[in-house]
Amino acid sequence: MTGRLATPVMQTAVLALGTALAGSAAEAAGRLNFYCSAQEEWCQIMARGFEEATGIDVDMTRKSSGETFAQVKAEASNPKGDIWWGGTGDPHLQAAEEDLTEPYISPMRAELHPWAIAQAESAGDRTIGIYSGALGFGYNADLIKADNLPEPKCWEDLTRPEFKGHVQIANPNSSGTAYTTLATMVQLFGEDGGFDYMKRLHANINQYTKSGSAPIKAAGQGETAVGIVFMHDAVAQTVAGFPIVTVAPCEGTGYEIGSMSIIKGARNLDEAKAFYDWALSAEAQNLALEVNAFQVMSNVAAKKSDFAPDLSAIKLIDYDFKKYGSSDERKRLLAKWDNDVSTLPQ
């Protein structure tokens, strides 16, 4: 008897996992599915801040910008997210290029820095700048002293022979930060000069990491002397207590624009727009200071941290986001880097 009864029960158990359940198209009003690509605390405080400001429930998912892009693309035929906030601008531009995001012109634009609006215009209003951060490098002061190295001030210093095996940068194939470095060198020194620089730098690189901010974390732990990263990442290491000195290279440097986009086909479009407008306000952008985010915010009235790298004191190049953010140019530069630089002996 038990055998007879147990069989159907078992079979149900086997198949109960089988076919589909859960998840339906219905959703409650006043809810926002928020994809966040900044660091955890910042995402949390943005989600809670918006809930307090509007009473709209926020479901926040934090992933790196590359992961979020992969997810938005995979979900394209049935989007689950409403708004995507934070992370470097290139994946946002890529999403705009692939028609994964929704154009929107916010009434808040009048309060923004011109670079934030330029970002929007280069993508047909499908994305907008929320913060910017300059590229640079950081070094571990203890290691530099122990190894009797000169303090590096310029991009050129990093190619000097005594820095052999002391410099770390991410692989531009896997990291937006390193791709920004490559594009910056091309714009700073011209295409030939830029690649020549990358080749000389290659001789000194001890490791091409996968993730963009890994080099400066390695520097913090004393695993490399110099890491090429965005300056705000280096500053965050110093504030966390590591012996890191942040450098704005003397030749000038490129920068990223952290961006925000509304996902095409968002189920809560009105809430997404409300978040979009709120996130551009000075009040929302001031939240960055509470979580040690040292980027420069896009609202002109937003407060600045004392630790934040002063963008006006840094020689910034006129970075062409439209050209270097396009997938054709990116593929071309990466292929050239793969063939001409990464294959050289070190």
Binding site: L15, A25, G66, E67, K80, L143, K210
Partner: protein
Amino acid sequence: MLIFWIIAGWVGLALLPWYGVEDFLTFSWLAEGWPLDPDLAPAAVLVAKGEKLWLAPLLLALAAPLMVLGRAKSDPVHARILIAAGGFGFAWLVAQGLGIGLRGFTAPWLEALFGPLGERQFGMGYGALLTASAFLFLFTQGIAARGAVGGDVFVAGAIGGVIAVVAIFVFFPIARMLMAAFVSDEGRLSIGVFAAKVTDGRIWGLGCLSGGRCGAAWNSLGLAVLVGVLTTALGLAFALVLTRSGFRHKRSLRALTVLPIITPPFVIGLAIILLFGLSGAVTTGVADILGIRPTRWVYGLPGVLIAQVLAFTPIAFLVLIGVVEGVSPSMEEAAQTLRASRWQTFRTVSLPLMRPGLANAFLLGFIESMADFGNPLVLGGNFDVLSTEIFFAIVGAQYDQSRAAILAMVLLGFTLGAFYLQRFWLGRKSYTTVTGKGDAGVHPAMPKGLAVPVHVVVALWSAFTLVIYGMILYGSVVRLWGVDNSLTLKHYVTAFSLAWGEGGLRWTGSAWDSFWTTMLIASAAAPLTAAIGLITAYLLTRQDFAGKKSFEFGTMLSFAIPGTVIGVAYIMAFNVPPIEITGTGLILVISFIFRNMPVGVRAGIASMSQLDRSLDESSLTLGANSWQTFRAVILPLLRPAILAALVYSFVRAMTAISAVIFLVSARYDMATSYIIGRVENNDYGLAIAYSTALIFVMLAAVGLLQLLVGRTRIGRRTSFGQGH
């Protein structure tokens, strides 16, 4: 039996909501317009109202089996009707689900054939689930009635069920993902793109032979072979010390060997960096003594190898311990009676009988190493392996899904190769040693020549493991690991603080949310994984049916593919109807079941191939059916395998990261993705404290499971005093 499934089918078709309903289990839908509201209506009601008419054939298919109720099972019409009705119903259900989606017809040719469709449909719900199960099992009953697999309804149903779920949750998403390999940048199908990318020098380069760098494929292959061999050897050494020596502290040794699998990712890597990195304690110490400059020697093959061997030895051990225990002492005693020396006995009797265990342990180590993602990420240096390349092809600056798919194919090719090599090595020999006959022997001790090196290796490796875990524990109570070493408990407070407030206890710590979600999902996934794994192992070792080999490979497939690929594949496959489960806890549970099932299968196969078939036969001869035999005879003898499957799947659900990254959602965040967030944010202390807490939770859970499952008592004298 038959009646049961016919009724179940009609309940699914005529009573339960056909499409997915949020919060189904609260039954609030009963009050929200069921059964007439189109979102909540059963299929029969929809058809009666003239909507979604493509569901109508299902009613006919489910009516047909009613005709056979009066007929005898031996009547050929009985079988024929069940096969036709079940097969057609299931096929139609799948076809309409795939053919009609959120925007009407899903393929252009369907629209060309039938014209545009005004209606659309969402993901299937419990009604569809129950009806689909009914069709499937009606079909398998028809097959059984025709005399397949000895007319055994249970076996036929189990085979059908496992095939169906593996097809839906392994083949379907992976096929969808791999299709991307043939898609060019413009979104068209192209063989040329495939050919160009598959022969890429970054995959197959052999530069390392001449001082340069090798392609990711060779790196992965070399690493996986090394890891497979080393973990199997170490696992065997631990198993031998536990079963064939007078070693005193077996219990603590056992706990120590399990430690690494209950460690969340990145933590071992961080500990290894703090020991062997450029500024690591060991590296700087040795450099000082030798008077040389410290180097970054650990980054690359050495570091990844150390971390992976540390992490995967326990898996080899879990597989091997059951097998080593299971080798019949009688055979060993017989050899000794025939004047074989201990060494001869070990070499010619014990070791060959352990072959299934060795082969399975190697295979698992090999595959785990191939698919591992966390350790190469932290320690890989410039040593590129396939799994990290795949991850960054998807999420990196390239956004190149077709490259990811191609790399996944290469990886799959290696795994397939290892799998067939393993089968070839095992050959057709019999490894049966547990029979129904009394077997009251004692395992002989290891031969001296073997015992000494084995004990030395085990002692060294145990000491190393202890040092690593000492570092981790220490790291969780210092302010800033490696910089500010003053002691503090603040990381634990931040993560796990509690407060008494209004309404009693409040979980104020930042880690509680993800902690409880993880516990819930892990405890849901573990028993299901073990059940499916062991049933599959039973089918593979005890039953013969057509297509058994490809069936076996299919069950291993999801394990062989790195989690990141599975993660993206699951999103692509299960974000749209007919199966729409992204953003739920269910997708996490399912991904864990099918990722970890192979361990249950392997452990089950290794143990079951030792059980003599005469045990089953005598049970069957005495009138039990195959289900009763499975439950009352085989299952109790499989306790080590059950324990291995349960422990492994529970623990992996708590420590896995790669697939999880893509599948977590706001409401279902997992511990590991929370920890990664901390590490990215330089919060090493918090990450390590959380990991340490998880390690203790899992230790407790493993102990509890061991108590619940109990041990197999094979009728043997206890050896060496108190036994083990």
